[in-house]
């Protein structure tokens, strides 16, 4: 166990440092914006007839630190708030703390991105195996080329093309939003059907955008494993094709699981373009909105959340690899 524990401790320490660094960056961006939004807000509240004390308190609630006071004081206040999961209050969502705005948006990001990731992983891995086995034939060429193309094209190009095809030229899918307003939100068939209908385009686009990477990764992994000695050895021992196939598949997919774990880090910030294009109110959409409206507390919070997810996924990916690969895991036996 010691190896895993030591690894975990090291990763956690590094992860916390990273998150602090990112928080510091977002603090200084908010604090040092030309025109000082914190002071401006305070000023505005005063002009609206608020008493200086009340205005100060309102501003502090919004940004997590007092408009006056030294930089250091503001910084420690902000960081202390962070540890209480207090990220301030959003300007554009009056009265709502940033955390609850983020929580509301997160559900519209996490589920579609998760669905898209799993879908593309599944299809990409299977197609990758085919691309590897048929690599000298036409089918293999086609799969590899289509993979490289989809992998190389930026997400927004794909999303715009998908939108142009399925909402403009052949309008069979809704253009944006999460569900038709005709339906009462809740657990009823109409609403859920509409939810799925609206999620189709974002999910499929996200899946297409990541599919190329999976197929390329799986193909090269399978080709590498096929060239390994133990596959030839298994053949020479007269192992059944189905068993050899399993040997190849398991060994080839192992490195991909790590990439999968890493890509789950994109759960919160991976679909910015897609959300914007399909008008889907997830975290990416929120981040863009907060930037456009200069809602700095919200912006900092969203950025922090998106980055923290990636850091956590990095840690999980490494631990996961330690668990599934006996070669890494055995370090523990040697040292125990």
């Amino acid at each position: 166990m010691t190896v895993i524990a030591r690894r975990l401790a090291g990763h956690l320490a590094r992860g916390i440092v990273m998150i602090l660094v990112v928080a510091t960056i977002s603090f200084f961006i908010v604090r040092n914006i030309p025109g000082d939004p914190v002071a401006a807000r305070y000023q505005k509240l005063l002009e609206q007839g608020m008493s200086p004390e009340a205005a100060e308190r309102a501003t502090a609630v919004m940004y997590g630190f007092l408009p006056e006071g030294t930089l250091w004081q503001q910084y420690t206040d902000y960081m202390a708030g962070l540890f209480r999961f207090d990220l301030g209050v959003s300007v554009t969502h009056p009265g709502s703390p940033v955390t609850s705005v983020l929580g509301e948006a997160a559900k519209w990001t996490v589920l579609p991105v998760l669905a898209g990731t799993l879908l593309s992983f599944l299809v990409g891995v299977i197609m990758g195996v085919y691309a590897a086995i048929k690599r000298s034939g036409k089918l293999g060429d086609f799969l590899a080329i289509s993979g490289s193309l989809l992998h190389g094209v930026p997400q927004y190009v794909l999303a715009l093309l998908m939108g142009a095809i399925f909402t403009t030229l052949i309008p069979i899918l809704p253009q944006g939003g999460t569900a038709d307003i005709l339906f009462e939100p809740g657990f009823n068939a109409g609403y859920i059907g509409s939810l799925i209908e609206h999620a189709t385009l974002p999910v499929v686009t996200y899946a297409l955008a990541s599919y190329g990477g999976w197929i390329l990764a799986m193909k090269s992994s399978v080709v590498t494993v096929l060239g390994d000695d133990f596959i030839l050895a298994a053949e020479l021992r007269g192992m059944r094709r189905s068993i050899i196939f399993r040997y190849v598949a398991r060994n080839a997919i192992l490195p991909l699981f790590t990439i999968l774990a890493l890509s789950l880090g994109l759960l919160f910030g991976g679909a910015i373009f897609i959300e914007k294009i399909f008008n889907y109110p997830g975290l990416g959409f929120l981040l863009i909105d907060s930037v456009v409206n200069r809602d700095y507390a919200l912006m900092g919070g969203a950025f922090l959340l998106i980055t923290a997810a990636i850091i956590v996924a990095n840690i999980l990916a490494d631990l996961f690899y330690t668990v599934i690969d006996p070669r890494v895991r055995s370090g523990e036996e040697a040292s125990a």
């Binding site: 050895a233 298994a234 020479l236 007269g238 192992m239 094709r241 006996p326």
Partner: protein, 328 residues
């Protein structure tokens, strides 16, 4: 049970590899007989085609190579060159055991040895899987390992010598009586090397096997083999009983090879390296003797005619010069 040991007759075997320059022979017109119950050693430098020859015994030459001509007739199996699909698969492992080069990783890194024994059993329709595992454990114990522990280990937890013994176990556990060992001791330290060779000899005798050992190390062959075949540029240039070949080499290549070994006693300067380099797939001459460029006995006929393998008593030598001398 020595009666079970099969004999093997290789005849006219030619293996070609497809290259941009056309199909080039890696093994050309090789004839070799493995008598039942003997250990035969094939010696050659890397690139001489010895591993390709070994793979031909299981009809397992890897693309872009293929067996272009000849036959490999194994008692109880028939001509394996003609075997296809399931028939071929079942012959591998069950009739012919193949032990990989020690330096190679011949085990699935993600599964324990025991699970791979079970996979092997299932592949060959073994009903008594418990019995199979017991056999595996005993075989490993016979080779001086803690069988139960090894079966529970992954490849990376085993040393080179242990892996090699596991490889031998996997080749024997299905009761194959023809065993091919490809560079069984390469990349092992001297002590382990000696150990493995001892095991090979003992297991061979106990189980009544026919064994083929492929190596570049004459020492290995001298240690274990009853008969010795020397390979050069895809051809068998000389074969015969090991002692005779080593004590009185006839072919100029064999002579050069033996002269290149430093003796424990005597002057080290007496060891002389063979001048020149062995041919590769692309530099093997199309016509004439493959060895002529490095040969001190070269004659005009060597440039045009490939010397036929001629039997001289127990010995078979493919050399124009030797033939001339014998007949003179």
């Amino acid at each position: 049970m020595p009666g079970q040991a099969p004999g093997v007759r290789i005849d006219g075997l030619t293996v070609v590899y497809k290259t941009p320059a056309g199909e080039l022979p890696a093994v050309r017109d090789v004839a070799l007989t493995l008598e039942p119950g003997t250990i035969t050693g094939i010696v050659g430098e890397s690139g001489s085609g010895k591993s390709t020859l070994a793979l031909s015994l299981l009809n397992a030459v890897q693309p872009p190579g293929r067996i272009a001509a000849g036959s490999v007739d194994i008692d109880g199996l028939g001509d394996v060159v003609g075997l296809r699909g399931e028939e071929l698969r079942k012959a591998r492992g069950k009739h012919v055991g193949y032990v990989f080069q020690a330096a190679q990783n011949s085990l699935n890194p993600l599964k324990t040895v025991g699970k791979q024994v079970l996979d092997l059993g299932r592949s060959h329709g073994v009903e008594d899987l418990r019995g199979l595992v017991r056999d595996a454990r005993e075989l490993l114990g016979r080779m001086g390992l803690d069988g139960a522990r090894v079966l529970d280990s992954h490849q990376h937890e085993l040393s080179g010598g242990m892996r090699q013994r596991v490889g031998i176990m996997l080749a024997l556990v299905l009761n194959a009586h023809l065993v091919v060992l490809d560079e069984p001791t390469t990349a092992l330290d001297m002590i382990t090397q000696a150990n493995i060779l001892k095991i090979v000899r003992e297991v061979h005798a106990e189980r009544g096997l026919t064994t083929l050992v492929i190596t570049h190390d004459i020492g290995v062959v001298a240690e274990v083999a009853d008969r010795l075949a020397v390979m050069y540029g895809g051809r068998l240039v000389e074969q015969g009983p090991t002692r005779q070949v080593l004590g009185d080499p006839r072919h100029p290549y064999t002579k050069g090879l033996i002269r290149a070994i430093p003796r424990l006693t005597g002057d080290i300067a007496e060891a002389r390296a063979l001048p020149g380099r062995p041919p590769t797939l692309t530099t093997v001459p199309e016509r004439g003797c493959v060895f002529r460029d490095r040969c001190e006995l070269r004659m005009d006929v060597c440039d045009t005619d490939d010397p036929a393998a001629v039997a001289h008593g127990d010995r078979i030598v493919a050399c124009h010069a030797v033939k001339v001398r014998e007949h003179a």
